[in-house]
């Protein structure tokens, strides 16, 4: 028995006792029993009303009525399962898609960074106001980080760090392994406001030169390689062939920095944080730096502060800081970049899709409303208020929507079970998106919004002022009023317009994505395997030793069966590594500089990559070991520096400045251009050098006919024969590297394409449903028309004309909105710009054809009407 029932029973008893007592009193006053009873009842009043009034004190009336309406709604749903299934499916798809995107937005954009007071954290950055294009990555030089703390009035606790790759020595259980991590100053963790789960932070003196190596492990590495052994803290572990003291283990959810680039590294996440920044770092070496704004300082204040510090530094250190200014951005913003915009666009698309679902269900409700009009008329006739009926209908549609919301949430949860494995690592924190309670609440809130959105028009219609039609049209379905059709036409227009928008925008993005991935990178990516072999400086301290070691590797890999050619390079395209600079034809300041990627190549690197030789010759084998000034440039450099003349034999000054004037090279060859960082970057200069290639090599590239898996193993074996402690990692095809570089855009494109396809399907069914319903309700009209001589062709034309006008309006509005959107939204993500305008017409044509079919099929059916049957139709 529920609490409510028990309370009612108590009230019953109380009333009964009351009446009993009053009757007894009356008898005592001398009334006969029957009369006494009647008098008691009279004095008491209407018992049912008393109970109802008392109940309304316990439970507010509106709540009571809602519960009633929900029960009634559920009963109605059970009675028409087809309608319920179609509606719930439409709603749940809309809510599901929206909630999936919302979960992503929450993880990437809303969730604060997992550091102390993350809104105060900023990342420093260098910019060259005189150059057109600024670097993608944020960097400052070591000297800046030494000068800044003494000069700033807006920043506090500056932390400096750089990526590092350490070799962890192998043991009986595990092979040697290269680990990706961070080298940092002891001030980094205090700046972030984090501390280890076990052990301690680095001490300030531990990042000073000459101090023994110390490091903090990531939780994942601690579990994987040290079996969660707490005693590892305080122990010395061999890294890079040297002892390194483990002082702490970070908690499992800690990571820094967040991953923003697709670069292939030994692991996707940082596995250690180590000090020191080795020997006293080169003052010109590039590092990354985060800092905290002092309380009450705005970003703008801090930028102005840095600008004036930049001027002072340019005065004090002209060679280092001339033409370069320091600036900063919020750390959170630097972590999101363009992904934020893409996710918001996805959200917009999801909401449009949800609206299509809403209009589909609204149409279904309208159609069903006709059959329920008699029920409503009866209710109105026996005294229900119009508002009460609207409320009942809205409660019903919200019940339906909530059901859809729950199913939508289940879909979202399922999607996010699967999606983390597919999300690109270069949208930070996307993989941590989950369907949690807040997503559930979001889905329910969406459901209520949906319920009101699709329920309000039908509810107002059904409870509308001309409810008399319900009676006058008794038994005649063709009595659908004109206004009814107008609402329905509006919904059809909306559905068609929304789906048109989604298909055009989705298709647009898809086409530009396809164009992006089919962009020629300038080299032959197929059948080229790239591996990273980084000789640790601790084990190979001198450049000569590293050079000799790499030469032995190169020679050994050349002998591996199936290898066609091998090369080495210091910075491989699409690996995340680059070595940017510029070249000029003279060392006079202010002569034309061409920005260029300057790579040092060994072996047959250029041939292996499939870069074409246009003029001159390749490097010779001896040029990579002997000092020489040979350089190979791409045709862009040749054209810009020596227009109309041959580049061969010309002298170029590589990254020359007033302080470093004499870096002269001589051009021996001209080659085709190759992209380095991204498929969508504009053509840039490429300069390839050969001197000391073996000492600078980091990547090994191999062209082969054999399967890449076999080749990877063969290369690892060849390296292990030379040095068993040397890890080989990455080992991936160049094709894969290129593909990874667009992973974020692929993810967004796929989600958008799925949404557009669903939208098209749902809109097609929605339009078809409405038109076939309205057409079939006109069966008897068609019967009369045919009886008086209309041909099937006339009927077909009539139906098509009437319906396609509506559909065409939707198509036109949708196309116009889509074009506006494309015009004003600009690039969705770098490289996903405006696509082929021809495609917009193809997409528009596709939607038109499908919408045409949705009109044509019911129209066809109308022509098959047998006039005799039609006239008896109802």
């Amino acid at each position: 028995m529920t609490r409510g029932q028990r309370a009612l029973e108590n009230l019953d008893r109380e009333i009964h006792d009351h009446l009993e007592q009053e009757t007894q009193d009356n008898i005592a006053r001398g009334m006969p029993p029957q009369e006494a009873r009647n008098a008691a009842l009279r004095a008491f009043g209407n018992i049912t009303l008393v109970k109802e009034n008392t109940r309304s004190v316990w439970v507010p009336v509106w709540l009571d009525q809602i519960i009633q309406d929900v029960r009634y709604g559920l009963r109605t749903m059970r009675r028409s399962p087809a309608f319920t299934i179609v509606s719930v499916l439409s709603i749940s798809l809309g809510i599901g898609v929206t909630a999936v995107v919302f979960a992503a937005i929450k993880a990437v954009l809303i969730q604060p960074l997992p550091y102390l007071r993350p809104a105060e954290l900023v990342q420093l950055r260098s910019e060259y106001p005189k150059m057109q294009e600024q670097a993608h990555t944020d960097w400052v030089i070591w000297n800046d980080t030494r000068e800044l703390p003494q000069r700033t009035r807006t920043l506090e606790s500056l932390g400096v760090w750089g990526n590092a790759i350490f070799d962890l020595a192998g043991d009986a259980n595990a092979p040697p392994e290269a680990l990706l991590g961070v080298r940092m100053t002891a001030s980094l963790f205090p700046a972030l406001g984090v501390s280890p789960m076990l052990g301690r932070n680095l001490l300030p003196e531990e990042d000073q030169p000459g101090h023994p190596d110390v490091m903090i492990l990531s939780h994942a590495l601690w579990v994987r390689r040290f079996h969660s052994d707490r005693s590892v803290v305080g122990r010395t572990v061999t890294f890079n062939g040297r002892g390194c003291l483990v002082v702490g283990v970070m908690p499992p959810d800690f990571t820094f920095p967040l991953r923003t680039e697709a670069a292939r590294t030994p692991s996707p996440y940082m596995e250690f944080w180590a000090a020191p920044l080795k020997e006293s770092p080169n003052p010109d070496a590039a590092f990354r730096a985060v800092a905290r704004l002092r309380p009450g300082v705005s970003l703008e204040d801090a930028r102005q502060d840095l600008a004036s510090i930049s001027r002072a530094l340019a005065h004090d250190f002209p060679a280092r800081n001339r033409d370069r200014i320091l600036t900063l951005n919020f750390l959170s913003e630097r972590n999101v970049r363009s992904a934020g915009k893409a996710l918001l666009v996805l959200m917009a698309a999801a909401i449009l899709f949800m609206l299509i679902g809403c209009s589909t269900v609204a149409n279904l409700l309208l159609a069903r409303g006709l059959t329920r009009q008699r029920e409503m008329c009866t209710r109105l006739a026996i005294g229900a208020g119009r508002w009460r009926i609207v409320r009942q209908l809205l409660t019903e549609s919200c019940t339906l929507a909530l059901l859809g919301g729950v199913v939508g949430y289940i879909l979202t949860a399922a999607a996010w079970k699967m999606l983390p494995a597919l999300v690109p690592v270069n949208i930070p924190r996307l993989a941590s998106a989950r369907a949690d309670t807040s997503i559930f609440e979001f889905a329910l809130a969406l459901a209520i919004t949906n319920g009101v959105l699709f329920g309000i028009a039908p509810a107002l219609r059904i409870a509308g002022p001309d409810h008399n039609t319900g009676w006058s049209g008794f038994g005649s379905r063709s009595a659908a009023s004109g206004r009814h059709d107008r609402v329905r036409s509006l919904l059809v227009v909306a559905e068609v317009a929304l789906s048109m928008m989604l298909v055009v925008i989705g298709g647009q993005v898809m086409v530009s994505f396809v164009r992006l991935i089919t962009t020629n990178p300038g080299f032959q990516a197929d059948r080229v395997l790239a591996s990273v072999v980084l000789p640790a400086r601790e084990r190979y301290p001198s450049p000569e030793q590293r050079g000799l070691f790499y030469k032995r590797i190169l020679d050994a890999v050349r002998l591996v069966p199936g290898v066609e050619s091998v090369g080495t390079v210091n910075a491989l395209p699409f690996s995340g590594e680059n070595d940017g600079g510029w070249v000029s034809s003279s060392d006079v300041p202010d002569t034309e500089r061409v920005e260029a990627e300057i790579d040092v190549t060994g072996g047959e690197y250029l041939q292996t990559m499939g870069i074409r030789l246009i003029e001159g010759r390749w490097f010779r084998e001896e040029e990579m070991t002997e000092p020489n000034d040979g350089a190979i440039v791409n045709k862009l450099v040749a054209l810009r520096l020596w227009p109309g003349a041959s580049a061969i034999g010309q002298r170029i000054c590589v990254s020359c400045t007033a302080e470093r004037p004499q870096n002269w090279k001589r051009v021996i060859g001209v080659v085709s251009s190759a992209s380095h960082a991204a498929l969508d970057e504009p053509e840039k200069g490429n300069v390839y050098l050969s001197a000391n290639a073996m000492q600078k090599a980091a990547f090994l590239v191999v062209r082969t006919e054999r399967s890449l898996g076999e080749m990877e193993k063969a290369i690892s074996r060849a390296v292990a024969l030379i040095d068993p402690n040397q890890p080989v990692f990455l080992s991936v095809s160049m094709r894969q590297l290129i593909s990874d570089s667009v992973a974020d855009r692929r993810f967004i494109t796929i989600l958008l394409a799925i949404t557009a396809c669903l939208a098209l399907t749902m809109a097609a069914f929605g339009v078809y449903g409405v038109i076939s319903y309205t057409t079939s309700s006109r069966t008897s009209e068609f019967g009369i028309r045919m009886a008086v001589g209309a041909s099937p062709r006339n009927i077909l034309a009539l139906v098509l004309r009437q319906n396609f006008t509506t559909v065409a309006t939707g198509l036109a509005i949708g196309l116009a909105l889509a074009l506006l959107w494309i015009r004003f939204m600009g690039d969705l993500l770098a490289g996903l710009g405006s696509g082929n305008p021809a495609f917009i017409w193809i997409a528009g044509g596709l939607v038109s054809v499908i919408a045409g079919f949705a009109c044509w099929i019911p129209a066809r059916r109308a022509t098959r009407v047998d006039p005799d049957v039609a006239l008896r139709h109802e």
Binding site: L11, E14, D17, H18, A43, F44, G45, V50, N53, W58
Partner: protein, 120 residues
Amino acid sequence: MSTKDENVRIELLQGTLDLLILRTLRLGPAHGHAIAKTIERNSADVLQVEQGSLYPALHRLIKRGWISVEEGTSENNRRAKYYELTAKGRKQLTLETVKWDKLTRAIARILRPAAQEGKG
């Protein structure tokens, strides 16, 4: 005519029933029927209270925390619900009584200005 007038029972003003219940309970806990009887008796049967309307009012007062309810035994040895004034209810009663007095005085002044002046 005047005698007839006096025999007419007056219907309660909105909200005054609550006040009457509170006042009745100041004398001590009582069950529903007893409250109804007391009100009728004390008003010399002038006030017409439909006995049933007592119950929604009682539950409303419980909800506001002005009275509490307890299971007890009635004079004829039956289980019954006894309603009792709470401290909050007692305070409310004082407040309402003051308000009521003010109201009636004000209305009386408007209705019988001459009488007031005559007295003064």
